[in-house]
């Protein structure tokens, strides 16, 4: 079988859960292979091998860290030209999407973004997308070049399949054109100690109905009790109650966790676009007419300030 090339993403040096999902998905389409851009230590190799990457390509060029997106795209293009994979899988997100976009241009290959499901098909993978703010489902195929597919986190559950990866270091000539957007300063974001929002299995999210920044403390307590991440609607981030990094929706992050618990969020279409792929949706809102109740599996018409403290106690008690 031909290789299916997965672009590896890391967070604080650790391989993202989303990458392990892509390796799991890749097995359905061919032989999983991985591309690491930047230095790859033993821990990275171990994680990739554990999830079935039989081949790991490493392109470690300083330009990848000095300039935005373009050097990484050139590394991916080079590896695709050398290895002719059946499909390229990239995690959907700001950087991955743009790397995939440039790669598609260079290879004149079709690109399909934000996949929620990828299945083998005649003439290439059949890619399912949730489009038009989540209102429609489409299935698409690439009909020219090497299919390049960006996949939303949580599309599959990662499954270990340990192999001993064969590692190949590749020197790539990064062009001058790719050395034009210089990153002059990086200010690291302070870690929250909680799972990455995009990768989290449980997301506890608050909106305008929370009433204050302080009330988000309740959401943090609930998230911590459940091992989840905290998020917010645009209304709440615009009010300064929670950092913009954690905004869900069209202009923020798209999440599809096992559980999305929305508190004090009415559920405007722009918000739903960022979370309607969640497997289970629970909502607490004072307004029985809030649109969020149209997509919830379990809804509570009530005051979050009364329900949340009791729910935190209940979760802690049942988790023992």
């Amino acid at each position: 079988m031909a290789e299916v090339l997965v672009l590896v993403e890391r967070s604080d040096g650790v391989v993202r859960k989303a990458t392990l999902e892509l390796l799991t998905l890749a097995r359905r389409l061919g032989d999983p292979a991985a591309l690491v851009c930047g230095p790859a230590d033993d821990a990275v190799m171990k994680a990739l091998g554990e999830y079935g990457a039989g081949k790991v390509y490493v392109v470690d060029d300083p330009a990848i860290h000095e300039f935005l997106v373009a050097p990484k795209a050139e590394a991916l293009v080079d590896v695709v030209r050398r290895t002719s994979p059946a499909t390229v899988l990239v995690t959907a997100g700001r950087e991955g999407t743009e790397v995939a976009a440039r790669t598609a241009v260079r290879l004149d290959s079709g690109i399909i973004t934000n996949a929620v499901e990828v299945a083998p098909g005649d003439g290439g993978p059949l890619v399912t997308q949730s489009v038009l703010s989540g209102g429609w489902i489409t299935q698409s195929q690439v009909v020219r070049g090497t299919p390049i597919v960006t996949v939303l986190p949580n599309a599959v559950v990662p499954e270990a399949l340990p192999v001993e990866p064969v590692v190949e270091h590749i020197e790539v000539q990064i062009s001058d054109a790719a050395r034009k957007s210089r990153i002059v300063q990086r200010t690291p974001k302070t870690g929250t100690g909680r799972p990455d929002l995009a990768d989290a299995s449980v997301v506890v999210s608050g909106g305008r109905g929370m009433g204050s920044a302080e009330a988000f403390g309740l959401l943090e307590q609930l998230a911590d009790a459940m091992g989840g991440a905290v998020a917010a609607s645009r209304a709440a981030t615009d009010l300064g109650w929670y950092a913009h990094d954690f905004q869900i929706g069209q202009t923020g992050k798209t999440v599809a966790p096992q559980l999305y618990l929305a508190s004090g969020i009415s559920g405007a279409i722009q918000h739903r676009a960022g979370m309607q792929g969640s497997r289970t949706i629970v909502a607490i809102n004072k307004d029985p007419k809030a649109p969020i109740f149209g997509i919830t599996d379990f809804g509570v018409v009530g005051d979050a300030h009364a329900v949340l403290p009791a729910l935190i106690d209940e979760v802690r008690r049942r988790k023992g």
Binding site: A70, G302, L308
Partner: protein
């Protein structure tokens, strides 16, 4: 210097649907200037208002009524507009869209290209990076703030793990997020004035592109099926009578989430 803002006329989100030929229905649905492009228009206009000696041109591609998006942008400010319109464009994918816009940018000339962070219909966020790649431009994307001076552009953006400051020499391509600042509402006077601003229409032939390179024929991906998402199975909604927390916890147990 010349700023070109890329704008898109999109279907109203509440009405957006696929047509029988599996392309997005752009004919029978009300449209509007993509909300996320309004931030790009706002940034271009305010750069000039803050003293940057520049003209602002809007560029779009789409069917005849896509010109309405250009008129809306012109009503907010700016100088003129260019509309690439050709029947052969119907059904174009992101690769051919970026080809057409790149050729059109070369045709009209530019020092700075400003885009929105995504369209509100396709929501792909790929076209700015594709255009930058085709034209060999530095891409300075997802700016939360930007400054232009001395032939260079500087932005601040939200990376995945860090806030990043990025600079590039002009010519360059910038995309801006909704955090750059609220877009203005055009006054009635400006709406009337916008009708007199020059709007040029270009065809594919003007850009040296053949019909086979674009549209459904030129697309590198194909939609095989499109259907409205079946409504989620109606869930339970209860009114809190003091026991809602217990009920939620019970529900989470049935879903194996607790």
């Amino acid at each position: 210097m010349k700023i070109v803002v890329l704008v898109k006329h999109v279907p109203e989100a509440s009405e957006a649907r696929y047509a029988d030929d599996l392309t997005l229905d752009r004919a029978s649905v009300d449209g509007r200037l993509s909300e996320l492009d309004e931030y790009a228009v706002e940034q271009a206009i305010s750069l000039v208002e803050k003293g940057l000696p520049a003209t602002v041109t809007y560029l779009t591609m789409g069917p005849a009524h896509a010109a309405e998006g250009l008129r809306k942008a012109l009503a907010m400010g700016g100088d003129d507009a260019v509309h690439v319109s050709d029947e052969a464009l119907h059904g174009s994918d992101s690769l051919s869209t970026s080809l057409v816009l790149a050729k059109a940018l070369e045709h009209v000339g530019f020092d700075l290209v400003v885009c929105g962070m995504a369209s509100t219909d396709a929501e792909m966020s790929v076209v700015p990076a594709m255009i930058a790649d085709r034209l060999g431009l530095p891409q300075v994307t997802f700016a939360n703030s930007l400054t232009v001076s001395d032939g260079s552009v500087a932005i601040r953006r939200d990376g995945d793990t860090a806030v990043e400051d990025v600079t590039a020499d002009l010519p360059a391509l910038v995309s801006v997020t909704d955090r750059t600042g609220e877009a203005r509402y055009p006054s009635f006077k400006l709406i009337l004035a916008a009708k007199k601003k020059p709007l040029t229409t270009l065809t594919l032939a003007d850009l040296g592109i053949t019909p086979e390179q674009v549209g459904l024929t030129g697309a590198a991906s194909a939609v095989r099926s499109a259907a409205p998402k079946p409504p989620r199975q109606a869930g339970v909604v209860v009114v809190d009578e003091g026991d809602a927390a217990t009920q939620i916890a019970d529900f989470l147990v049935t879903q194996k989430l607790l």
